[in-house]
Subunit: 286 residues, 2 copies
């Protein structure tokens, strides 16, 4: 992050045993696709009782596992520990400038969630505890798919009415998929859902929104990914969501459209026309 | 609206009896504060059975009535008719360019809602029927208060994390006030709630957001209102909401902060600091 230096108390330690010795809270900040392999080296050095704070978002390719599920599998039954998903609308460059932000500390272990809340709260970072880590993680994954679609709307210059409609209808899709995966609907209506979705769909910096915008302008997915250095998490997530939703019989018109645009060459304008002219309905949220 | 002409079929008719003769659907597009006086002249000419489509948003000052409630009172018991609230994220300039948008046709009369859905649907305007007109109207009013706060965040240049947190926590306040007024929570999680809130908080054109931005930059409410030609509905709505919420014992920290900034000179930065450092909590939506 240009122009910012890490505090002097932060040190880099490549040896797992030395890194974890005496830790009271462990933060796992590893992209979802690499959590399993990295933790294979760290699991045995984990001090008992230290909660693991996971800040990853997305589904693992192939297994469709969420970050906290991968952690549990990678660490194995010997770990007497809890995972806490720390998530919310948090663009890193804004956090680094100490601009106000909110997050959830979501865990099945209420004590662990409160420990994390106390440890990370500052006057500019307000943290709420939460008891639905699955919902918080599913929301963090799914919003990237909706952000790809939001970017396409930007690329096609369709305006705020269209993007807000996408946000509202995308939220309904997130709730439905979440319900099929054991998440609570309410989680999607809070900071980890609506809040993170708004930032991801409207902030110009977001990688998923920017990828969608390029595609909306006529760039192919391959061409965009070839010229970007960062991971566009929503692309793999869209694949996982489509498979999960089809297995469970969940209707996901927006994610289906995103997949057809990304992987099958459907023109984005055609996809939007098809979504707008589906049969007239009553609005249903859950 | 510069550059656009009305279709030739649209004519202007100042005589109530002539305007309403043979009407099968009547659209009431009158700012909330003037519905009662305008309908005093039109009520007797209303053809029986024609639903009234209301597109106004806000609470009537003093009475705190919603548009459909004012219509019912103004038209009186002789009217054998239904009201339908047509609402959603619909910036007029985008609609006029036929950019895609969604709305709700919300009514206690399902047939009337479906008639309005059929009459107003086009390939670029997708309308969902809905059975909670109170919720749809409360959402349409309250989002303007949150938009004032969103503008203040813009005026203070606090970023996307802060604005999305406001959107999520503002939505919770909207749900709480809505529940006290008889609205369903689900309505706030759909197009009339989350959807309209997103457009109102993020679109640069919105009058309420722009007013908040000026105040965030240090302009007083009086100075801003003196130089703008349009009504900033959220200002009167904030007053109504504060009174309604206090009467009903609803906790509304954001609306309270907006009122103290608008009417009591509290500096916006102080209000945000106070909101961020309230006691640590669990996230609760309803």
């Amino acid at each position: 992050m240009p122009g910012l230096t890490l505090p002097a108390q932060v040190s880099v330690e490549p040896d797992p045993a030395a890194a974890l010795r005496g830790a009271t809270i462990v933060v796992s900040a590893i992209p979802t696709q690499f959590i399993r392999t990295v933790w294979a080296n760290f699991a045995s050095a984990l001090p008992p009782g230290a909660p693991i704070v996971s800040v990853a978002k997305g589904f693992e390719s192939g297994s469709h596992r969420l970050p906290s599920e991968i952690l549990r599998e990678a660490i194995g039954p010997r770990a007497v520990t809890s995972t806490v998903a720390l998530t919310g609308p948090t663009i890193a460059a804004e956090l680094a400038r100490r601009l106000p932000a909110t997050m959830l500390a979501a865990s099945l272990d209420a004590d662990a969630a409160e420990r994390v809340q106390r440890a990370f709260s500052t006057p500019w970072l307000r943290i709420y505890t939460h008891d639905d880590p699955i919902g918080a993680e599913v929301a963090g994954a799914l919003k990237n798919v909706i952000a790809l679609a939001a970017g396409m709307i930007d690329g096609l210059a369709l305006g705020y009415n269209a993007k807000s409609a996408l946000l509202a209808r995308g939220l309904v899709e997130m709730v439905r998929i979440g319900a099929a995966l054991g998440a609570k609907a309410e989680t999607f209506f809070g900071i980890a859902g609506v809040g993170d979705l708004a930032t991801t769909c409207f902030s110009p910096e977001g990688r998923n929104r920017a990828c969608g915008e390029a595609i909306g302008r006529g760039v192919t997915l391959e061409a965009h990914l070839a010229q970007t250095r960062s991971v566009v998490e929503g692309v793999e997530t869209a694949r996982s969501v489509r498979q999960l939703a089809h297995e469970r019989g969940v209707e996901i018109p927006i994610t289906d459209a995103v997949c057809r645009i990304l992987f099958e060459g459907l023109p984005p304008a055609d996809a939007i026309r098809a979504l707008m002219t589906r049969e007239a309905k009553a609005e249903r949220i859950t």
